[in-house]
């Protein structure tokens, strides 16, 4: 096995490797985030945390299709107070955790930050893009002015880096990204799931209890690549790529499109081993192509 450092620096975050556990995947507890990190992820993004506990939608909340997973879990989370206690319990362990947060507006985002900020974690990822929860998703993330006010509210309450997670469900994504960057976001995460639905033919019912959900998995990766490519052209801030990465080729493709690090979510379907598998593949590729640092690959797809 050839050794290569996979270390990356993303808006001040120092990560052992460019892979992060994506928000919404297993990371509702600090135990699960820790397991992802110990399994080889350079960092782990928590499930989105809001002000109050939320149980999410009634099941079915997820349906597996031949085109990927469609989910409407409904932002279930234990609430900022309880999650803050869980983070406090691992103080001193310097775990590379990014906390995803959501809210119904700038004031609510601000209060969540106030409750969490004293804890030891790397950064915030603002969920401006949930495609299936009314009042906290598209209403926030498809409107540049609202997004700007949310980012300002968070920015004024923390010194930690702030990433805005964007939705590709709107033609205004680049406008929202500009609003976020102009309001002080240190980086952008793209993309979230794509709004989707399935209908079960025997019963003729929409399968998910919430009817609408978000599509994830390999089928959304080409959409993510296009969006990351556009963002890289438009902005200087680092981009965290997200959407359908399950192999090292996918991860490298995302780096070439302009992502500085890459989130892995739905691929956890095959177990926590996915992080070390992808890292090994990236290492082999770097040796073969004579790259010394991951950063050297970022955005190379733009040279042509």
């Amino acid at each position: 096995m050839v050794e290569r450092s996979l270390r990356v620096k993303v808006a001040g975050l120092r990560l052992e490797n460019p892979l992060l556990l994506a928000s919404g995947i297993v990371g509702v507890t600090v135990d699960s985030l820790t397991r992802a990190i110990e399994s080889g992820a350079g960092g782990a993004v928590s499930k989105s945390i809001g002000l109050e506990p939320r149980e999410g939608y009634r099941n079915p909340t997820l349906v597996a299709t031949d085109s990927g997973l469609v989910n409407a879990v409904g932002l279930s989370n234990p609430g900022a107070r309880v999650f803050s206690e869980e983070l406090a319990a691992v103080k001193g362990r310097r775990l590379p955790i990014v906390v995803s947060i959501f809210g119904g507006g700038p004031a609510e985002f601000g209060r969540v930050v106030e409750m969490l900020d004293g804890n030891e974690f790397l950064a915030y990822e603002l969920n401006l893009s949930c495609p299936h929860v009314e009042g906290v998703g598209t209403e926030i993330g498809h409107d540049p002015e609202v997004a700007a006010s949310v980012v300002r509210s968070v920015r004024s309450r923390t010194k930690k880096p702030v990433f805005a997670k964007l939705s590709a469900n709107t033609h205004r994504m680049v406008d929202v990204a500009k609003a976020a960057v102009d309001s002080g976001a240190d980086g952008l995460t793209a993309i979230n799931t794509m709004r989707a639905m399935t209908i079960e033919v025997e019963t003729r019912r929409p399968t998910l209890s919430h009817k609408f959900g978000g599509l994830s998995g390999t089928s959304i990766r080409p959409i993510a690549i296009a969006r990351i490519y556009e963002l890289y052209q438009a902005f200087k801030v680092p981009i965290i790529g997200c959407g359908g990465v399950s192999t090292w080729e996918h991860a490298v493709e995302m780096l070439l499109a302009g992502a500085s690090s890459v989130e892995v979510g739905t691929a956890l379907y095959n177990g926590y081993g996915v992080f070390s598998d992808i890292n090994q593949g990236i290492t082999n590729y770097m040796v073969r192509k004579r790259f010394k640092k991951v950063q050297e690959m970022v955005g190379l797809g733009h040279k042509f």
């Binding site: 507890t29 997820l62 989910n71 879990v73 079960e200 019963t203």
Partner: protein, 258 residues
């Protein structure tokens, strides 16, 4: 859905046909979708080579309530079978179950007998009318290896199944305890096995959403119950003793009592 068999005053076994379940192993579960109500995890209580399978259900919510009353010909959704099964091998097996927890122990008993294991079973319930699958277990294990306990003493030995299990572990050549039922009972069985230095496997239950290792709802410590369980062994549980038998996370991820 092909048949609904009333087992006790509130427990029913619902038979359905699902070809994928023909490959199931003891302790595996399916996600049962009762359209319009809910989707929830249930251990398989029967399965055969043709895919005729069953779950054994007690009404506790809207979905299971609807399932208990389901009729022949009704369409229900089945995903699975999922999860890590019980270990089936030649051993000195003691099966300890209470209530609907006996459901996954029935196919386990059949498979263990087939594998040449020495199988002893303790069936527990509140009272005589709550004892599940007595007839079915009698067909699988010898009379001298089948024990019954009831909380009120109306059938078999009065007391909890774990009281009897403790004696059996002492008196018989038991090398592994298998258990499913109320978590407090399973924790007691764990402590008994731990003291005796024998192997242990339990099928647990948690608030489950996706069933396939994605949503993170069903954690027991670092274990995702849907992928690492629903059968967990002593090693997995030893690392989760602050939770096992005491605490579980609700659908929001907050701790509540089991």
């Amino acid at each position: 859905m092909v048949k609904n068999v009333r087992e006790t005053r509130d427990i029913s076994t619902v038979f359905f046909v699902d070809p994928e379940c023909s490959t199931a192993r003891p302790g595996q579960f399916v996600m049962v979708w009762e359209p319009g109500f809910d989707e929830f995890p249930m251990s398989l209580s029967n399965y055969d080579a043709k895919g005729v399978s069953s779950v054994t259900v007690k009404p506790w919510g809207p979905g299971s309530g609807a399932l208990v009353g389901a009729r022949r010909g009704e369409v229900i959704g089945i995903r699975g079978p999922y999860g890590r099964p019980f270990t089936v091998e030649k051993c000195g097996a003691l099966l300890v179950g209470g209530g609907t927890g006996l459901a996954p122990l029935l196919p386990l008993a059949k498979a263990l007998v087939k594998a040449g294991a020495h199988v002893t079973v303790v069936l527990g319930g509140r009272s005589k009318s709550d004892i599940l699958f007595e007839k079915q277990f009698r067909r699988v294990v010898k009379r001298k290896n089948l024990f019954i306990t009831t909380d009120d003493g109306s059938h078999g030995r009065p007391g909890y199944p774990t009281d009897l299990a403790e004696e059996l572990v002492r008196e018989r050549n038991v090398t592994r305890v298998y258990t499913c039922g109320p978590e407090v009972m399973m924790r007691k069985a764990y402590d008994i096995s731990d003291r005796a230095g024998i192997e242990y496997e339990a099928s647990l239950e948690r608030s489950m959403k996706c069933g396939i290792g994605i949503c993170g709802s069903c954690t027991v410590g670092r274990n995702l119950l849907c992928r690492d369980g629903a059968v967990l062994d002593a090693k997995a549980l030893k690392a989760s003793l602050e939770e096992f038998g005491l605490l579980q996370r609700d659908a929001s991820g907050r701790y509540i009592k089991v």
